[in-house]
């Protein structure tokens, strides 16, 4: 009888301990959930300047709208955000020639993600000696330029070519219409 009481007490103690631990874990998880969004958004960090641009190939109808963001992070860095609409049959697509002071770090685009398993196959990185560029176009299985809408986010970092000359010139082309977009480095 005495042993039965001991076992019973041990069981009760065990249940209390397990329940207490479970409650503590639950309370801690709830506390962490409450803390999840205590985030101070950093706005315009190191942002020096921006430049908007719009261009359209009046013949094919291909058009592009975009914004250049210039950052001062040790060296200069640039982010290019573009939305584009490539006309069907326009083999030129979208082209961007980078200033020699920059090289491509990354590009993400959703252009025709439904056509290819790898949407990145529609992006061609052009390396030509000291200059580099990006081409975005899409062909189907019969090498026909299918056209369509898309967006892209392009990140550029400094190349080994130094200097700014007060700004940087980017050559953008929508179809066969090209324009130079300059982003100025503001004076301190």
């Amino acid at each position: 009888m005495k042993n039965h009481v001991k076992i019973l007490v041990a069981l009760v103690v065990l249940i209390i301990v397990v329940a207490s631990v479970g409650y503590i874990v639950h309370v801690r998880n709830e506390y962490e959930r409450q803390q999840l969004h205590v985030v101070n958004t950093v706005i315009d960090e190191d942002l020096l300047n921006s430049a908007d641009f719009y261009m359209k190939d009046e013949v094919s109808g291909t058009e592009m709208v975009g914004t250049l963001f210039l950052y001062g992070r040790g060296g200069y860095e640039v982010v290019v955000a573009i939305d584009f609409d490539i006309a069907p049959g326009d083999s030129a697509g979208i082209q961007i020639a980078l200033p020699q002071e920059f090289r491509l770090k990354s590009i993400v685009t959703n252009y025709h993600e439904d056509v290819h398993e790898n949407p990145g196959s529609d992006v061609v990185i052009v390396e030509d000696g000291s200059s580099s560029g990006i081409e975005i176009s899409c062909t189907d299985g019969e090498m026909t330029d299918v056209g369509g809408k898309g967006a892209a986010l392009i990140k550029l970092v400094p190349s080994e070519q130094l200097g700014d000359a007060g700004g940087f010139d980017f050559e953008f082309a929508a179809g066969h219409h090209s324009e130079t977009v300059r982003i100025a480095v503001p004076e301190v």
């Binding site: 999840l36 706005i43 993400v108 790898n118 967006a151």
Partner: protein, 181 residues
């Protein structure tokens, strides 16, 4: 007893070899990160877009969200173009849940406007989520970096955002392919 010592030694040596291999693999990855090779659609998962126009005020926004599979969570980048005609704040993006927070955002807004142009609240205590407002007049572009929290279930197949321009507000639900595996 002697066999036990031998077995222990074998296990320790095996573990050391595994640690060495893991360290070499990590070093290789580090070299890749520092290389000049451009990354094309790295970690890209899917995208979604939204358009809103308030016919009364003429204000509008157009946005594209890129989602990235980071394994244990989702990152997202929103490119949002907007035009504010009314002078009222444009609520360019917010989440009704606490599934995403906004660590960074940049706004290109060339129009002159006195005062605070951007307000981003990552609200914790009211459990209503993150809200981003742009004040002023004219056209601009915002790049918004989002990061999912633990409240977005790993492998979730949908995410919902709300966006607004003028008096027009809409919810947008985006389907996600399999992620987090």
């Amino acid at each position: 007893m002697r066999i036990g010592v031998k077995q222990t030694c074998a296990v320790v040596i095996g573990a050391l070899i595994l640690v060495l291999i893991a360290a070499l693999v990590c070093l290789d990855d580090g070299d890749d990160d520092g290389s000049d090779r451009p990354l094309v659609n790295e970690d890209y998962l899917s995208s979604g877009s939204f358009d809103i126009k308030d016919e009364h005020t003429g204000s509008w926004i157009h946005g594209t969200l890129f989602f990235y599979d980071m394994g244990d969570h989702l990152d997202a980048t929103a490119i949002v173009r907007f035009r504010i005609e009314s002078g009222d704040p444009a609520a360019i993006l917010y989440t009704n849940t606490m599934a995403f927070s906004v660590p960074f955002m940049d706004v290109a807004y060339p129009e002159d406007y006195e005062g605070n142009r951007v307000q981003c609240d990552n609200i914790a205590h009211e459990l209503v989520g993150t809200r981003i407002y742009i004040y002023g007049y004219g056209e601009g572009t915002a790049i918004i970096e989002l990061q999912s929290t633990r409240l977005l279930e790993r492998g979730a197949d949908q995410v919902t955002f709300r966006a607004g321009a003028g008096d027009e507000f809409h919810d947008f639900t985006f389907d996600l392919p399999e992620w987090g595996s």
